[in-house]
């Protein structure tokens, strides 16, 4: 009798087990072209890594989708085609993603860099501020004029955090370092990025960092005989002499994890914000232009970050007006870091306040 029962139970359980493990059909929505050599390129590398997993049946993408209302149509389109994991990779897709997700409760949605979660909409991002801080240390050591430049896309927390971490990193090794910021108000326009970089070079900046999707800033610095940091992925070819390093994304780490959870049926919508210890962000290889003692210094700090013994926003931190925002001995709480809308002391630039 027991044997029969066990056989029956196994018979019932078997298809259930198969049912619980679903094949993953993922669709990625990109804001730029996959050949941008920057943000979208880095995401696409992650997609390719995810596609290698045996249970990922399909990992497609749609590129150059404008942010805003039109994005909703595109996201709805892939949801209707039966994709069960939809990943939208730009801040501006936040509302369209949430809106479409209401109609597809069984589909897992992941939105990059936003702050709105729903039962089937998770958000994810990485603490790129950590490698930004490390790159700031390099800049602070390499600079001779003590003026660093930063070509920045939009005045949103994601970008502001990076600028602040970069400035604090530089000041941690060089108290005189200041960071000048120029906003381009575009993620991707090589011409404007180049002009912005040149305008910073003309006001004494000798190390440039950037939060843009093209390597135009690096070329401007190289041409002027100055130094530059990349972003998104390693970009040594654009600055044979002046390229120092780049804070880089390894999205594949996260995408593989998400696909695995969807496959096993354990995926839950959350607000994931992974740090350097997971490998989602890191500092790319440092070039020969970085002195050896600086390399050692940065490597040691990176180890502290991975071990969790050093936080990139550790007090005392003052804002531009000189007011203490993080007291001595405290670290900036995650939720405050996520909505950071001010510059720290030593950053020269203005933030036009955005209203919701």
């Amino acid at each position: 009798m027991k044997k029969i029962l066990a056989a029956v139970a196994a018979f019932i359980a078997l298809p259930m087990a198969i049912h619980a493990e679903v094949e993953v059909k993922a669709a990625f929505i990109y804001v730029g072209p996959v050949g941008d050599a920057g943000w979208t390129f880095a995401h696409d590398q992650g997609r390719k890594e995810m596609a290698k997993l045996p249970f990922v049946k399909d990992a497609t993408y749609i590129e150059s989708v404008p942010e805003g209302a039109d994005a909703a149509r595109v996201i709805r389109g892939v949801a209707q085609k039966g994709y069960n994991l939809i990943i939208t990779t730009s801040f501006g897709y936040m509302d369209p993603t949430v809106e479409v997700a209401k109609s597809f409760p069984k589909v897992a949605f992941l939105h990059c860099a936003g702050y709105k979660t729903k039962p089937n909409v998770g958000t994810y991002f990485g603490k790129i501020e950590q490698p930004r801080f490390l790159s700031g240390m390099i800049a602070g050591k390499v600079t001779k004029s003590n003026v660093l430049g930063y070509v920045a896309a939009f005045p949103i927390p994601e970008v502001i955090r990076g600028i602040n971490a970069f400035a604090l990193g530089a000041q941690s090794v060089n108290p005189k370092a200041v960071v000048k910021v120029v906003w381009t108000n575009t993620w991707f326009d090589p011409g404007v990025e180049r002009s912005a970089a040149e305008s910073l070079l003309s006001v004494d900046c000798d190390v440039l960092a950037m939060h843009q999707d093209s390597p135009a800033t690096l070329q401007a610095a190289e041409k002027a005989g100055k130094f530059a940091m990349g972003y998104n992925c390693d970009m040594p070819t654009f600055g044979p002499k002046g390229y120092l390093c780049a804070p880089v994304w390894n999205w594949g780490v996260y995408y593989a994890d998400a696909a695995k959870k969807v496959h096993e049926g354990t995926w839950k919508a959350g607000a994931d914000w992974w740090g350097i210890e997971t490998g989602i962000v890191d500092l790319g290889p440092m070039t020969a232009a970085v002195p050896d003692d600086v390399k050692a210094l940065v490597t040691a700090k990176r180890k502290e970050m991975i071990a969790g013994t050093f936080h990139h926003f550790t007090g005392p931190i003052k804002n531009q007006e000189g007011k203490v925002v993080v007291p001595e001995g405290k670290v900036l709480p995650d939720e405050e870091e996520l909505k950071m809308d001010y510059f720290v002391e030593g950053v020269k630039g203005t933030i036009a306040k955005m209203k919701e």
Binding site: A37, S64, S195, E198, S199, M235
Partner: protein
């Protein structure tokens, strides 16, 4: 202060030059009576062709010639549809714009992530020492070419027989036909040549201004060129003025930020577009006063059988 103005002027020229090439090409095309909305696509094809050939051969001349060659081929496609098959010029132009984006992305994959040194600047003795305007004489060969083209195109339309014929074709193809001007041939070559010149604008981006290749790298400059054709009222010198004004506003807003002005960056970024709207109002008012230079048969396919 002089340094600041000189830097702004230098950036102005470099930011304005790709738009200038795009506009000049479109002017030649539209003077013959054919609208070309495909400038963005042409510039992208030019950018890729220029970059690909230069990075393979090491020769900038070969790159620029390749840009002209491939964009002329694309232009001939537009000419075939609009001039010979008498298709809708708007639709064909939009298709050309999209085709250029797609084709350049497809064939450009293997060139992503590579860089070039970029065209070097040629200083013209004495002239480059003039304060402020000296910036004009410390540019690369393509910038000089663009200015020479402005003069040549202006002279072509006002001083040469072919230029007058071409204008006649754009104004009144029926009359041109009657007087023995081969209307279709003129239109075909004006579209092709115009496309080639627009293509140099793309090559300027990928060989001099931002010497690498990425998809969509012209980022809308082709569309600005299309609107500058109307602003310039189909005149080459005014196109130069418009392109530099557009480049200048952009250069100035970035430079002011670097100098730490507290003007809202949103306001500064709005300026080029406010300017465009202002210019459109201004030029429409001029049109009302009858100062239009618009080729009278712009957008109309010519068919000898339908001649009135």
């Amino acid at each position: 202060m002089i340094d600041l103005i000189e830097t702004i002027f230098d950036t102005t020229i470099r930011a304005g030059t790709p738009i200038l090439f795009g506009t000049l090409g479109a002017i030649i095309c539209e003077r013959s009576g054919v609208i070309n909305l495909g400038v963005e696509g042409l510039m992208l094809i030019g950018a890729l062709a220029g970059f690909a050939v230069t990075s393979m051969t090491g020769s900038f001349t070969a790159g620029v010639l390749a840009a002209i060659f491939f964009t002329m081929i694309a232009g001939m496609l537009h000419a075939l549809i609009t001039v010979y098959l008498k298709g809708n010029q708007i639709v064909s132009g939009l298709a050309l714009a999209m085709l250029g984006v797609g084709v350049s992305a497809l064939f450009g994959r293997s060139f992503v992530g590579k860089g070039l040194d970029g065209l070097s600047r040629i200083e013209i003795p004495l002239l480059s020492k003039i304060p402020i305007f000296g910036a004009m004489f410390r540019q690369d060969i393509l910038v000089y070419l663009s200015v020479i083209l402005v003069v040549l195109i202006a002279l072509f339309f006002s001083r040469t027989r072919w230029g007058l014929y071409l204008r006649t074709v754009g104004e009144n193809p029926g009359a041109a036909d009657t007087s023995g001007i081969p209307v279709t041939r003129y239109r075909f070559w004006a579209v092709a040549l115009g496309a080639g010149i627009s293509g140099i604008g793309g090559a300027y981006m990928s060989l001099a201004y931002t010497p690498f290749w990425v998809e969509n790298m012209t980022a809308g400059r082709g569309w600005i060129a299309v609107s500058l054709v109307i602003f310039s009222m189909w005149s080459a010198p005014r196109a130069l003025f418009g392109a530099y004004l557009f480049g200048g506003i952009n250069a100035a807003q970035l430079q002011l930020q670097a100098h730490g002005t507290s003007v809202s960056p949103y306001l500064l970024t709005m300026l080029p577009y406010l300017f465009t709207i202002g210019v459109l109002i201004w030029s429409t008012r001029r049109l009302e006063k009858g100062a239009s230079n618009e080729p009278a048969s712009l957008g109309l396919p010519y068919d000898r059988e339908d001649r009135k």
